[in-house]
Structure formats: structure tokens, C-alpha cells
């Protein structure tokens, strides 16, 4: 038997064994837990009030951390540029080239030069927001535990993009930006006329115009809900798979059964979804901006 096979068999054996052991100890009875509410994990508890209608809560904390990371990391690298790049600089240059491709591939050269800083910072901000959302931080002030007499907030994963307001604001900025850019390039009537694709004639023009006009606003919804729903569903499913279901149903063995799925989903979310959603948001913003000024729709 090869070594790899032994390791795989040992892991499977440990998995099955722990399930059997937990059933033997705790039995297989379901005791519904009404006190644990999974939606509380996403509730925003006010930490302290700021003047005016503003409150400081964990979503604001995550937004500020993501913004500082975006600005700080890029400034740090930009001030230490070397002719012989080290590993960090190479990685950042790869990301920079990646963002260049997002803008350059979807707009003409003049627009790409103008809008690259916007699309680039949009990408980095969403990327950092998503990624720091997977680091467990002591932010859940709703549940606390005690260490040496001090109340420490429970460790929780939360991303500011899992709250609909942050992606909606970003989508609104993009929406205003591409509409203004389109009107500046073609004039108000020219822009409205360019919504209808060429080759449409007769009474169909009015119908297509209304359709395209409404779909402009649907972009706002799809852009924000796509990011928000992906991150929210990712966090929810990690929560459920890595123990939430076991607590909710009061069934100890379920925790052991679902834990591997939780680990796999966590890796999937960190490795693919966090980067992919930032990439999609930036790419679609670039496509909308490029499409608004393009001669042919």
C-alpha cells in the first residue's frame, strides 16, 4: 500500500470513526435549539453613535479597514519600487497588469486611461473587503465570552459586502458615472437614441427603447445583488456547514458530518468567489462605461 493511500484511508477512517463515536456518546436525537438565531450573525449592532444619522458598527469597521488596506498597500508598494522586483512587488505588478487588462479590453484607449484609476480601486476595494471577510475577527458584540474577567466579543466572519448597502452604493457610483460619461460623449438626445440598437425600424423602436431604458436600471439591481448575494450566501453556508446546523438542530453528530464540507466551501470561497466577484464587478463596470461612449451599441 502506498503512503498516499494510507493517509487517505486514515482520514476516511477518522471521519467515519468520529461519526460513530459521536452517535454512541450523544445518540441520534434531535433537540431543536430556539435560542440560536443564524440571522443574528448578520445583525449590525451599533458600537457607538456618530454625530448626525451616522452609527459606527461592524460593517463600517470592515469598510474602513478595506479602504485603509487598499490605499495603504498600494502606496507602500509604490514608494518602494525597485528595478529588481522582489516577490511582493512582482505580485502587485501582476495585479496591476490584470487591472490594465480589465480596462483595456473593454474600452478604447482614451477612456481606459481616464477610468483606469476608478476601475482599479473599485476592484481592489471589493477584493480586500471580500478577503478580510474570511478572517475570523472578534467583532460579534452580540455574543461575548470571558477571558480573565474581560468580555471579549465572539470571533465571527463578516464582510461589509454581505450587507446590501455597500454594493448598492458602489453600483450607484458606477451607474451615475457611465450615464454621465455617455451623455457627455453624445449629448442627452444622442445618448437616449443610442440605447436603441441599429437596424431596429418602425414601431419596434419605442418598444425596444423602453426595454433598454428599464434594463439600464436593472443593471443597478443585478450589479449590487450579485455581489451581495454571493458573499452573504457564502458566509451563511460556511456558518451552517461548520457547526451552525449542529447547534440549530441540537444534533452533535451533524457537526462531524458537515465539517469537511465546511472546510471545502471555505477554501472555495476564499480561493475563487472572493476574487471572481471583485473581477466581475470591475469588468462589468468597465463594459458599461465602454458601452456608454461606444459609437455602435
Amino acid at each position: 500500500m502506498s503512503t498516499r493511500r494510507k493517509i487517505v484511508l486514515a482520514i476516511v477512517g477518522f471521519y467515519v470513526g468520529s461519526i460513530v463515536l459521536l452517535v454512541a456518546i450523544f445518540g441520534f436525537t434531535r433537540r431543536d435549539n430556539d435560542e440560536f438565531k443564524p440571522q443574528e450573525e448578520f445583525r449590525l449592532e451599533t458600537w457607538f453613535s456618530l454625530p448626525g444619522p451616522l452609527d459606527f458598527n461592524k460593517a463600517v469597521f470592515y469598510v474602513i479597514v478595506a479602504g485603509l488596506l487598499t490605499v495603504g498597500s498600494m502606496l507602500y508598494i509604490a514608494n518602494r519600487m525597485q528595478a529588481h522586483p522582489n516577490r511582493v512587488q512582482t505580485a502587485v505588478e501582476t495585479i496591476y497588469q490584470f487591472m490594465r487588462n480589465i480596462t483595456g479590453g473593454n474600452m478604447d484607449d482614451r477612456m481606459a486611461r481616464k477610468w483606469f484609476p476608478f476601475i482599479g480601486s473599485l476592484f481592489l476595494f471589493i477584493w480586500f473587503s471580500n478577503l478580510i471577510g474570511y478572517i475570523p475577527l472578534p467583532t460579534n458584540t452580540h455574543e461575548t465570552f470571558e477571558v480573565f474577567g474581560a468580555d471579549i466579543p465572539a470571533f465571527a466572519i463578516y464582510a461589509s459586502t454581505a450587507n446590501v448597502s455597500v454594493p448598492l452604493v458602489l453600483a450607484l457610483v458606477v451607474f451615475v458615472a457611465y450615464n454621465v460619461e455617455g451623455i457627455r460623449a453624445k449629448g442627452l438626445f444622442g445618448y437616449l437614441k443610442s440605447l436603441v440598437p441599429e437596424g431596429v425600424k418602425g414601431p419596434m423602436v419605442g418598444f425596444i427603447f423602453i426595454l433598454e431604458f428599464v434594463s439600464n436600471f436593472m443593471r443597478l439591481v443585478s450589479l449590487s445583488v450579485r455581489l451581495f448575494a454571493n458573499i452573504l450566501a457564502g458566509h451563511l453556508i460556511i456558518l451552517f456547514m461548520s457547526g451552525g446546523l449542529a447547534v440549530l438542530l441540537g444534533l452533535e453528530v451533524l457537526g462531524a458530518i458537515t465539517l469537511p464540507a465546511g472546510v471545502i466551501l471555505f477554501v472555495f470561497e476564499v480561493g475563487l468567489v472572493a476574487t471572481l466577484q471583485a473581477f466581475i464587478f470591475a469588468t462589468l463596470s468597465a463594459i458599461y462605461l465602454g458601452g456608454a461612449v461606444a459609437e455602435h451599441h
Binding site: 443585478s222 445583488v225 454571493n230 452573504l232 450566501a233 466581475i280
Partner: protein, 96 residues
């Protein structure tokens, strides 16, 4: 409808309020199940088509691989989002 409702109360030997509460719970569970389940069906078919077509086009034109890969992830994310629209609608119905 009223006849059906009274029949259910008789058979279940429960009061009208209990039946209404069970109905509300069942409706929430059905909303979550349909939102998540049917959403997954549609998005699963769509993602399958996308990756199938990517394999097909890369075998036809291997030199286009890099270009196709970036379009593939765009299509994957756009399709996958449709699943989450259904799931989020189900979750809203279930929890709110």
C-alpha cells in the same frame, strides 16, 4: 377553500390558529426550498453548458485558450449569480 380549511382542522384535531401557524411555517419552508432548489437547477444547467462549451472550443482552437478562460469565468459568475437571487429571496421569506 373554507370547506378545505375546516376539513383540515377536523382531521388534524387542531384549532384554527394552530393550523394557520403551521401553514405559515410550511409556506416559509417551501419558499426556502423552492428558492434554493429550483435556483440551483437552473444555474446548474447554465454552468454545465458554459464549461461544456469551453472544453469544446478549447479543443477546437487551443491557441485561443487564454482569451476563452477569461470569458469563461465571466459567464460562470453571471450564471452562478442567478442561483443566489433565488436563494436570497428564499432566505428573506424564511427569516423576515
Amino acid at each position: 377553500m373554507d370547506v378545505l380549511f375546516s376539513l383540515i382542522t377536523v382531521f388534524a384535531q387542531a384549532s384554527a390558529e394552530e393550523v394557520a401557524a403551521y401553514g405559515s411555517d410550511a409556506g416559509k419552508a417551501i419558499a426556502l426550498g423552492v428558492g434554493g432548489g429550483l435556483g440551483a437547477v437552473g444555474a446548474g444547467v447554465g454552468i454545465g453548458i458554459i464549461f461544456g462549451k469551453v472544453i469544446e472550443s478549447v479543443t477546437r482552437q487551443p491557441e485561443m485558450r487564454d482569451e476563452i478562460t477569461s470569458i469563461q469565468w465571466l459567464g460562470f459568475a453571471l450564471t452562478e449569480a442567478c442561483f443566489f437571487y433565488g436563494l436570497v429571496a428564499g432566505l428573506i421569506a424564511f427569516f423576515l
